[in-house]
Point group: C2
Chain length 198, copies 2
């Protein structure tokens, strides 16, 4: 009897979980690593939770050389693991193992029915940020490179690249630019998790 119940439980569990997934829930992604520290590029992030996008955003003044850009302005889309998003709504903080994917796309304007403004077009590159206690700072940043030669995995960017420094000095919540994610900034204000002095 016990064995039958256990078997029924197991089968039922698998069926129900499968149905819940097919019914329309995005498969959640915990970070996966190769060689202990190298993040495997998530391939299903377009089904994660979108937190915001920007167009042509830059952190260097338009006059500096670094900002000089040819071609159309670039859209950046940010996606986060759905369970982490839901956790943030409850707490205003990111749980350990949160993964953010930053996707850059080129933009188009005068096409089809559109007469002005810009819409998103081809993929340009993919980056990621991870909150994970396995890293010295608790956070790490990854660049999977340009779309034409996307890497299947990437090593954490070295501290000398300035990611941690910038994401410490200029971010509203933890190491994340929640000030640019309007629905989450409201949550952080309510939960009191905006950094002092921001």
């Amino acid at each position: 009897m016990k064995k039958v119940i256990v078997a029924v439980l197991a089968v039922s569990y698998v069926i129900a979980a499968g149905q819940a997934l097919r019914a329309g829930q995005a498969v959640d992604g915990q970070p996966r690593y190769t060689g202990d520290m190298n993040l495997v590029r998530p391939t299903d992030y377009r089904e994660w939770t979108f937190i915001s996008s920007g167009l042509g955003m830059t952190y260097t003044p338009p006059s500096t050389e670094a900002q000089t850009q040819t071609g159309p302005p670039t859209f950046g889309n940010v996606f986060v693991t759905p369970s982490s998003y839901r956790s943030f709504l409850q707490t205003g903080k990111w749980p350990d193992k949160t993964v953010f994917v930053l996707e850059f796309r080129t933009s188009g304007s005068d096409a089809s029915i559109n007469k002005a403004g810009r819409f998103q077009s081809d993929l340009l590159s993919v980056e990621a940020e991870v909150k994970d206690a396995r890293f010295p700072d608790g956070w790490a940043f990854f660049n999977f490179g340009p779309a034409a030669s996307l890497q299947d995995s990437a090593a954490p960017l070295p501290v000398s690249r300035g990611c941690v420094e910038c994401h410490t000095a200029h971010t509203a919540v933890e190491r994340t630019f929640v000030q640019f994610y309007p629905t989450l900034m409201d949550v952080a204000r309510r939960k009191g998790t905006v950094k002092p002095g921001f």
Copy 2:
């Protein structure tokens, strides 16, 4: 014995489905109506699947009066029910009961660390498009109004508003502007569901 197994099945199913949801899957949304035709405004659409965003897009030439705009350009984000998104990836078509939410947000530029380009800010308005065989055309369009006075439900916009006409004449796939959703346009091309002549 049979009763026990049925009870175990039921309990196990509920637990598993609940866990699958908590594990990070967005709750899917079928359209809900009041008074048979009035769409109830989805409140969880930010956890649906994002399909693209645009900035300042307009379908009227910049010189016409209708396009004249004061204030910063507007971001438009499009979200779709996750199960419909997954169905589209498989077939290049939208299943019946698909709901799209179009959310408009104002944009900011010179704030915090950002020096150029635009990021998303306050909610402006919420609209929806639904594929549902209950409507004469099989599709209907809804406007829940401006953010300051969002309606909990909305009646289908009348045909005289031109939504159906424009979404018939100018869209790449069915009644949807898949030409502006780069990941889905690739799918539609592979599945051969782009409209003839587009």
